[in-house]
């Protein structure tokens, strides 16, 4: 195996190790702190890579990227505030566990699932890069449309006890996603004349407003202050045997779903975690219902987003197709050093490819250390008394939101969504499906319209290929399965 002969010898140099550690440390920090995100940190440190050895610079940037996925769950669990958009869904069960005094277990499960998910993602990268990359190429717009609809239906009821409420939130999210430039004609729509809305609503402003500001205001205003565990002892992190058993299958399912989603361009880790949670809702047989503090609800999304953050490298490195802004920064860092990501990269620059894979293993191990024995450090940051913590969080949310586009308008937007979040939560609507609709709606739209353009308006074009047909039929089956138990419960109520 070249990873042992070549990879680790490259990744274990002092230089590469140092920058890998720096990357995962920065990544965990921006992940833990709500508001700050990986993209801002990566683009700030990007010029530094000009002057580093290629592998060191890449290991650092990559470390920030997947490190943030580890850190993101911490604030979700402790404060009900997602540190990253992809951990928004982890808050649903994670925060409930915290309220039950099981924060330590939730943090442990999140990290363990993250590690398993990351590992499965790396293994997929080591052994399946070729076939997985081919899978990405086999997907055209009909396939993307089918898989997005599948994802939408699979997670339609995320975080809501009443599916109808979830669907309302989903629909609002889809509508918000329509703001901006029409993907095919380039015409602007629903911008209310605001130039700042021409490219759509900034996702970070939406997430930070709905979840960040909204949650802070709700927690500050509620009398039953949720007990943030001030101290997480290592002992309190040890899950019971039953919890370990219940966590295994969701972790594996989440890892596989995340590995697949990560490969697809334009989907990202947020869709992965939602899909992981959605699948658990459908196929999981949890004794504790999801949404009321089930370890499954923490394990599945965290495994999924970490698996996705690793497999996202597959199309970037082996096809030269970066699927997200973060991956585009990695892509740029490779180009700077004269490495052309593509099918020949593994054979032409094996030391970089395998060195990077080895650094992922090292980085994931470092993250395990940073997030289990050293979790106390992060917890202490987040367990300041609310009267100190919340102003800090609001400040970070503002800084983070502003730094994405250097736009003051986005701050107003975040404030607006903060208000909306408060109203929704007071009315017992969960904001998570709104975010899902906001992310998936535009994807579904562009691929639907592309499919229609390719088939010249023939609706049967959606069933043009076996993959698309399979996913659409799977979606139909899921809808039927969804409907059957509900009509049973409905009739039992009568």
């Amino acid at each position: 195996m070249e990873i042992f002969t070549l990879g680790f010898s490259q990744a274990l140099t002092i230089d590469a190790l140092y920058y890998c550690f720096l990357g995962v440390l920065v990544g965990t920090a921006v992940g833990v702190l709500p508001g700050l995100g990986a993209i801002a940190a990566m683009s700030l440190l990007f010029p530094l890579t000009f002057h580093l050895e290629p592998l060191s610079g890449l290991a650092m940037l990559a470390g920030i990227y997947y490190g943030a996925e580890y850190g993101g769950s911490t604030a979700s669990i402790l404060l009900n505030l997602p540190g990253t958009p992809s951990s928004a869904v982890t808050a649903i069960d994670g925060y409930q566990l915290n309220k039950q005094g099981r924060a330590g277990v939730a943090l442990f499960v999140a990290t363990a699932a993250s590690f398993v998910g990351g590992s499965i993602g790396i293994i997929a990268m080591m052994f399946l890069s070729g076939p997985i990359a081919a899978l990405g190429l086999a997907f055209g717009s009909p396939e993307y449309f089918a898989i997005v609809v599948f994802g939408l239906v699979a997670s339609a009821t995320v975080g809501s006890d009443t599916p109808s409420r979830g669907l309302v939130m989903l629909a609002i999210g889809v509508v918000l996603g329509c703001v901006g430039i029409d993907p095919t004609t380039g015409a602007t729509r629903f911008t209310l004349g605001a130039v700042e809305l021409v490219n759509g609503i900034n996702m970070v402003a939406l997430v930070m407003g709905l979840f960040g500001i909204g949650t802070v205001v709700m927690s500050a205003g509620s009398s039953d202050h949720a007990q943030v565990s001030r101290r997480i002892s290592l002992r309190s992190m040890v899950p019971s045997g039953d919890e370990v058993r219940r966590g295994i299958l969701p972790t594996l399912r989440g890892s596989i779903a995340g590995s697949i989603v990560g490969v697809l361009p334009g989907t990202g880790t947020t869709m992965a975690s939602f899909l992981g949670y959605g699948i658990e809702r459908r196929v999981g047989s949890s004794k504790v219902p999801l949404g009321s503090g089930a370890v499954e609800g923490v394990a599945a999304p965290e495994a999924a987003n970490n698996a996705a953050s690793q497999t996202a490298f597959i199309p970037t490195l082996t096809l030269g197709v970066p699927g997200s802004a973060s991956m585009a920064i990695i892509f740029g860092a490779l180009l700077i050093h004269g490495i052309t990501p593509g099918p020949l990269m593994i054979s032409q620059r094996p030391e970089i490819f395998w060195g990077l894979v080895a650094s992922f293993w090292i980085g994931n191990l470092l993250l395990l250390v940073l997030n289990i024995p050293l979790i106390g450090v992060w917890v202490r940051i987040l367990s300041l008394p609310y009267r100190f913590l919340f102003p800090v969080v609001i400040t970070l949310v503002c800084v983070g939101t502003y730094s994405i586009q250097n736009s003051a308008f986005d701050l107003w937007l975040a404030l607006f969504f903060g208000g909306l979040g408060v109203i929704l939560m007071m009315l017992h609507f969960q904001p998570a499906p709104l975010l899902l609709g906001f992310i998936l709606g535009p994807l579904a739209e562009v691929h639907f319209r592309n499919t229609m353009s390719l088939s010249r308006g023939d609706i049967l074009g959606l069933f043009g290929t076996p993959v698309a047909t399979t996913f659409l039929i799977a979606t139909l089956v899921m809808v039927v399965v969804l409907m059957v138990p509900r009509s049973k419960t409905a009739s039992s109520h009568q």
Binding site: I39, F46, P47, T184, G186, S407
Partner: protein, 321 residues
């Protein structure tokens, strides 16, 4: 030890404070902001950050690359136009923030004639690509395929007015067909676009070298024509469109522009600095690796480029069909 490389960064971070002691009239007297009208990642951001890094080292003053994406570049352009014309805030200009603006945002009033074009920096031509399995082998083939059956021709659009749309607009002009009868397929960037064509889902795309290089290596894509003035060093066998008999030009270019009324000595200092960056071998190589070539030329070169591109834009997008 490689940690020493952090030193320039630390120095550049402290530079703004050091700069404060210089006399006010000397440019640059403090940190310089280079506004990039695109989000992080992607080739424009890439060239902007390489330029900022080169300028930082040339002046010994921090040059910050600031992304102000979205709004069809209007927020970035507005920020540049409303800043003081002392050279400390400039825009990484390009087609989308100059010649395309009046087409894309007709109700926005940005007077291009008042903008101070400082100097050209870099360019990367679009390249027509088709699937490696396609029967199309030349630009002539492509034109005849479009002409014979425009209703079946699928191509990648960047949302109506991108540089790729400019390329296909000219192709349709050459084939004498209307764009509205073809099958445009939207893609969210150069790389996903390349994947759609490589996978055989869409017939053709116009992309920059960095987004197609991987698939050219694997044979999943075939380059048909370079839509610039000359052939590319890395694709010596691919002719330019002009060589293949069609005058199609679609180039992504980058220049540096400032607000109106910049003092001549600041303009001169900027032009000197950009030339110095362009003479730096390491910087040239970094850009070349990203499929971007240096492009020299001062104020007149930029304004000529804008004028020429504007007239093509008006011809392609200005008419209603």
């Amino acid at each position: 030890m490689k940690f020493l490389h952090l030193l320039p960064l630390a120095l550049s971070l402290s530079a703004p404070f050091a700069g404060a002691v210089h006399a006010q009239d000397k440019f640059p007297s403090r940190a310089v902001n280079l506004i990039i009208p695109q989000p992080p990642g992607g080739s424009t951001d890439f060239s902007g950050r390489v330029l900022a890094d080169g300028l930082s080292r040339h002046w010994g003053v921090q040059v910050r690359a600031i992304n102000v994406p979205g709004g069809n570049t209007v927020p970035a352009v507005t920020q540049m136009e409303t800043s003081r014309p002392d050279g400390h805030t400039v825009l990484l200009d390009g087609g989308s923030s100059s010649s395309m603006l009046p087409i894309v945002m007709p109700d926005q009033k940005h007077d291009l004639s008042k903008r101070t074009f400082l100097a050209m920096f870099a360019e990367s031509p679009m390249i027509f690509v088709v699937s490696g399995k396609s029967k199309i082998n030349s630009l002539a083939d492509l034109v005849s395929v479009v002409k014979a059956n425009p209703e079946n021709f699928s191509w990648i659009t960047n949302g109506g007015t991108g540089v790729g749309d400019l390329a296909f607009g000219q192709l349709f002009e050459a084939a004498e067909v209307r764009a509205s009868v073809t099958r445009p397929v939207a893609a969210s960037g150069g790389s996903p676009a390349a994947a759609q064509v490589a996978g055989g889902h869409v017939m053709a795309a116009a992309g920059s070298l960095s987004s197609i290089a991987g698939f050219l290596q694997s044979g999943d894509l075939r380059a048909i024509a370079v839509l610039g003035q000359s052939r590319l060093a890395s694709l010596p066998d691919v002719p330019t469109a002009a060589e293949a008999g069609h005058d199609i030009i679609a180039v992504q270019w980058g220049a540096v522009s400032g607000p109106a009324n910049m003092p001549p000595e600041v303009i001169k200092e900027w032009q000197k600095a950009i030339s110095a960056v362009q003479a730096d071998k390491a910087t040239v190589e970094r850009l070349q690796n990203g499929g971007i070539a240096m492009l020299s030329g001062g104020t007149s070169a930029v304004s000529e480029r804008v004028t020429a591109e504007t007239s093509v834009m008006q011809r392609i997008f200005g008419r209603k069909d």
